[in-house]
């Protein structure tokens, strides 16, 4: 382990789902204490804390958490980057360790979203007695439903439809079958919010939210938290053999935003920034998509999963439908995707998601995933995208010890 390598020493996610009796600080504390225990260290060893809670971004979840688990005076970075908030917290800690500011740090993401409904822009200001232009578009009324939609199900539906327009081969049924794969996977994950096997016919018969995404094809709003302890290679060498054996190497940690392209301010372009992040990550890690034993990608909607097969270069450009039809992303395929059940069934407590997907990969690389273990997994990729946009890609490798 080279001195400047970064490793995950300990990591944890809470059960995702409904936690009516716990607040965000309870959930963040639970994940934090469990991640520290998993790492075999304490708050006193942490040199930095990066924490995110998107829906309470102004409240300073990092310091609230410290007041429950350890006020050690270390710098706290409260981060907010839409659905990439958790990945941003991890990235922040990694940058601090790489910069030599500290040798160990903690990243935490937590959200309470049960019953939140569709997320996206509000309906705009209530119409006044007289039409009055306001805002950057000089609008006299809220625009949701009048000029398209900012609601996430409709935005990501269009993302999948745009892919279909460009390359062909998509259909309502295809997207439902992608969703059925993930719901099937969830039955093996006791931490998933929804563990219910559903056929594609059942998924298609669910209430339509935004064509072609029915309710079962949308990420489940849920409560949950995840936390990770990161350590430098230099520090890890001073720790026990058992800690070194269970540590997972962060071979690449990349965060991108969306570069300008025609139309990207009309419908968010979630493709180019993901492709850019993947390309950088593969180069940093010296690993190609064909080397991946499993992938957790951001299936906030079934339509999103399809485009990210392509964006993460798991298939040739334009080949996402063929990739799915080949069986490659199934548990038994060549590149299992979302064996956790994905956001559609595991749940999507926003700020926790970008750490929870890394937890899933670590779980397999450590050989601790129980009945859903991908046998012999040595390398995996975790991807999140936050609309706006921010994309996090992490490539993780099993310890050689």
């Amino acid at each position: 382990m080279a001195n400047d390598d970064i490793w995950i020493l300990g990591i944890n996610m809470t059960k995702f789902g409904k936690h009516p009796n716990e607040d965000v600080v309870d959930l963040a504390s639970e994940a934090t204490l469990a991640a520290l225990a998993d790492a075999g260290v304490t708050m006193a060893d942490m040199g930095i804390l990066a924490a995110g809670n998107l829906m309470g971004a102004a409240a300073g979840i990092g310091q609230q958490l410290q007041k429950q688990v350890g006020q050690t005076g270390i710098p706290v970075f409260n981060v907010a980057n839409a659905c990439a908030t958790g990945a941003t917290a991890i990235r922040t800690v990694i940058m601090a360790i790489k910069a030599g500011e500290c040798d160990m740090g903690l990243a935490v993401g937590v959200e309470k979203l049960s019953g939140a409904g569709m997320l996206g822009a509000g309906m705009g200001p209530a119409a006044s007695d007289e039409w009055t232009p306001s805002g950057r578009l000089g609008a006299v009324s809220g625009l949701e439903g009048k000029l398209g939609t900012d609601m996430m199900p409709g935005v990501f539906a269009q993302v999948g439809m745009e892919y279909g327009h460009k390359y062909g081969g998509t259909s309502f049924e295809l997207f439902a079958r992608i969703s059925a794969k993930n719901h099937s996977n969830s039955t093996l994950n006791p931490l998933a919010a929804i563990q219910k096997d559903m056929t594609f016919e059942q998924i298609m018969a669910e209430p339509m939210i935004a064509y072609p995404n029915t309710r079962a094809m949308c990420s489940a709003n849920s409560d949950g938290a995840a936390a990770a302890v990161l350590v430098s290679g230099e520090k890890l060498r001073t720790l026990s053999k058992e800690q070194q054996r269970r540590a997972v190497k962060v071979s690449a940690s990349v965060l991108t935003s969306d570069p300008y392209e025609e139309g990207c301010q009309i419908l968010p372009n979630v493709n180019t920034l993901t492709r850019n992040a993947a390309r950088q990550a593969y180069e940093l890690a010296g690993i190609g998509p064909e080397d991946l034993d499993l992938v957790e990608l951001h299936d906030c909607f079934a339509t999103a999963e399809l485009v990210h097969y392509d964006n993460l270069m798991l298939c040739p450009e334009g080949g996402a439908v063929d990739f799915f039809e080949s069986g490659a992303p199934f548990r038994t395929g060549s590149t299992p995707v979302n064996v956790s059940g994905g956001l559609e069934s595991k749940g999507h407590p926003i700020a926790a998601t970008g750490i929870a997907n890394i937890w899933e990969i670590c779980h397999h690389l450590r050989g601790e995933a129980g009945p859903r273990q991908i046998e012999g997994a040595k390398v995996g990729l975790a991807h999140v995208i936050g609309l706006g946009s921010a994309c996090g890609v992490h490539i993780l490798e099993k310890s050689g010890l």
Binding site: G117, M118, A127, S128, D129, E130, W131, P133, R136, L137, G138, A139, V140, S141, L143, G145, K146, L147, G148, T149, M151, P153, G154, A157, Q158, V159, M161, E162, G164, H165, F172, P207, M208, I209, A210, Y211, P212, N213, Y260, E262, G263, Q265, I266, L267
Partner: protein, 130 residues
């Protein structure tokens, strides 16, 4: 005829309603909102560019409203001569048989309400061209 006001300021009403974009004089990138600078090249000067009113559906969805009984609506991205425009598809059934990818559409305008001063707000959408 009542006074009219466009729903958004980039919709130009009159005999031939159309959309107008802020076009960067340096790189040609087009935007519909008020600009501070260009997101593509950081240029600071813009000119007005009329957008063609014929287009092709590049992406769409059909949203089921939360309000029981409310009609589904059809948000779409319409390619108008190389400029992406956001709108609803209107004047056709809101289902995947009547709205299709690659469908040819044209701009249309319609009133969405009248305020206490008697001014009518006008929205735009795209309807099937055929």
């Amino acid at each position: 005829m009542a006074d009219q006001i466009p729903l958004v300021d980039y919709l130009v009403l009159g005999d031939s309603p159309h959309l107008v974009a802020n076009e960067c004089t340096n790189c040609g990138a087009r935007y519909f909102d008020r600009r501070n600078a260009c997101a593509s090249c950081s240029g600071l000067t813009f000119t007005k560019a009329d957008i063609v009113t014929d287009g092709e559906v590049r992406a769409f969805t059909i949203v089921t409203p939360w309000v029981p009984g409310a009609a589904p609506y059809v948000p779409a991205v319409v390619d108008c001569g190389g400029t992406s425009v956001r709108a609803n598809i209107v004047n056709t059934e809101p289902d995947a048989e009547h709205v299709t990818l690659g469908m040819k559409v044209r701009l249309t305008t319609f009133p969405i309400g009248t305020d206490t001063a008697g001014t009518e707000a006008i929205n735009y959408g795209f309807e099937p061209a055929n």
